[in-house]
């Protein structure tokens, strides 16, 4: 049992370290947040949205802006470790490397979830409907959980390449598409006030994605980082 406790404490330490770095530097969440808002404005002008159209598109816009913004955070969370070879220090620690992965996933998830929580009231203002619904927060948790599990894995992969972090979106967006589809469909159902049975299967699908991609991270994170 203590081995498991050691594992959890390793995960917690990575997470705590990331929170410390974010708290002192404040360079992750604010950047993601501003970027997400910019995406919303870009879409608004590029698509010439009329007010009645906007309401139906709110769920889609929320997820697109979150998906685009979180790549910034994902890249940063790994590239930060490459600076001054901090990653080598992490890898030298006598813990299972998947613990580093889960710590990173948790911090990435926490930061993007925070961005999502701030976006909800902003979207409610912009699109004249209450988006602060408990079920929508649940979709945020499930969707961003799956997205950051996959994203952390692929960020670790793309940082190994010559092009560094440029590659992440190309790798991440197509693979994350099922997650985005499910998250958008569930959010749309919730915002339209449909009964939960209509979108329940999407929530289950998201849960399955969480498990699948976390398992992939557990299996492959070490393989990706080996030198």
């Amino acid at each position: 049992m203590s081995a498991f406790r050691d594992y959890l404490s390793a995960v917690w330490n990575v997470l705590r370290k990331d929170i410390h770095v974010e708290w002192r530097g404040r360079q992750g969440v604010p950047v993601m947040l501003v970027f997400a808002l910019l995406v919303v404005f870009l879409f608004n002008f590029a698509l010439q949205l009329s007010p009645d159209l906007q309401a139906g598109l709110a769920a889609g816009l929320l997820w697109v802006s979150l998906a685009l913004a979180s790549t910034l955070g994902l890249n940063r969370s790994i590239s930060l470790e490459q600076e001054n070879k901090a990653m080598d220090g992490l890898l030298l620690a006598p813990v299972d490397r998947s613990a580093i992965y889960f710590g990173k996933v948790l911090s990435n998830f926490g930061f993007t979830f925070l961005v999502g929580l701030v976006l909800l009231p902003v979207f409610s203002l912009f699109y004249q409907q209450n988006m602060f619904k408990p079920l929508l927060v649940l979709v945020l948790v499930l969707g961003l959980g799956a997205y950051t599990s996959l994203g952390t894995l692929l960020a670790a992969l793309s940082i190994q390449t010559r092009t560094r972090d440029v590659l992440l979106p190309v790798l991440l967006y197509p693979l994350a598409l099922p997650i985005l589809i499910a998250a958008v469909e569930a959010s749309r159902g919730i915002l339209a006030g449909q009964p939960i049975t209509d979108y329940q299967s999407w929530l289950t699908f998201l849960l399955a994605c969480n498990i699948l991609f976390a398992a992939a991270g557990l299996m492959f994170f070490e393989t990706i980082l080996e030198e």
Binding site: L157, S158, R162, L175, P178, F205, C209, I224
Partner: protein
């Protein structure tokens, strides 16, 4: 340069005979579909190409796993070859589907889930080549390529699953029967042509992958590096 194996020559000849034979079977042996007319005959090669594409992506993932376990270069050559050939088959499936869709759906392209996910699958595996080309060492190409091939193949079942969840307009020809068996909405002659083309395309796939594998090995031996 090793000599071309006899079995590969045999496979070449077999494909050269059987692919035209399957075409003759489709054109002259199968009945013309009552509603859709002759254009329905696209279906045989369309489904076969999609099948061959899926199969080769799964093969690539299996070969990737083989590489990660044994760390032998030959598995990486196989994985790379399967993805390259699979990309071509996927493209054939999409293009032949478009030829069918133009008269039947009255449009070349609809944003139907199955079409979209197939197109996304192509993008996923295109990114595989971008990933490989931006890695410097043979070892890292093989290792990270293997991880990516496996994670990507995990999205293939998600592709299939998403059709069931979405309301799709893509025809489901092979429906799972209620009492265990599967029901085909085809006449016996259609079934014969259908399974023949599936078989022929599987042969063609193995032939092409084999050739590509030999090319990859040749490149590795001659240039002192894998591609």
């Amino acid at each position: 340069m090793t000599k071309k194996p006899k079995r590969l020559t045999l496979l070449d000849i077999l494909c050269l005979i059987l692919v035209p034979a399957a075409m003759v079977l489709i054109l002259f042996f199968t009945p013309t579909e009552r509603v859709m007319g002759p254009v329905q005959k696209v279906f045989y090669f369309h489904v076969s190409a999609a099948w061959a594409g899926m199969l080769s992506f799964l093969l690539a993932a299996a070969a990737g796993a083989g590489y990660l376990i044994t760390r032998e270069q030959k598995w990486d050559w196989l994985s790379l070859s399967a993805i390259e050939v699979g990309l071509v088959f996927g493209l054939i499936a999409i293009l032949s589907g478009m030829i069918w869709a133009q008269p039947i759906w009255n449009t070349w392209w609809v944003w139907d889930p199955r079409l979209t996910t197939t197109a996304i699958m192509e993008l996923i595996y295109l990114a595989y080549f971008i990933l490989r080309s931006s890695l410097d060492t043979i070892e890292s190409r093989a290792r990270l390529g293997a991880v990516y091939a496996i994670v990507s193949a995990a999205t293939v079942p998600l592709t299939f699953f998403s059709i069931r969840l979405f309301r799709t307009i893509h025809p489901v020809v092979i429906a799972m029967g209620g009492s265990g068996g599967s029901a085909f909405n085809m006449t016996p002659r259609m079934l014969l042509a259908f399974f023949s083309s599936l078989f022929v395309f599987t042969l063609l796939l193995s032939d092409l992958v084999w050739h590509r594998y030999r090319l990859a090995r040749l490149q590795a031996v001659n240039c002192g590096e894998g591609v």
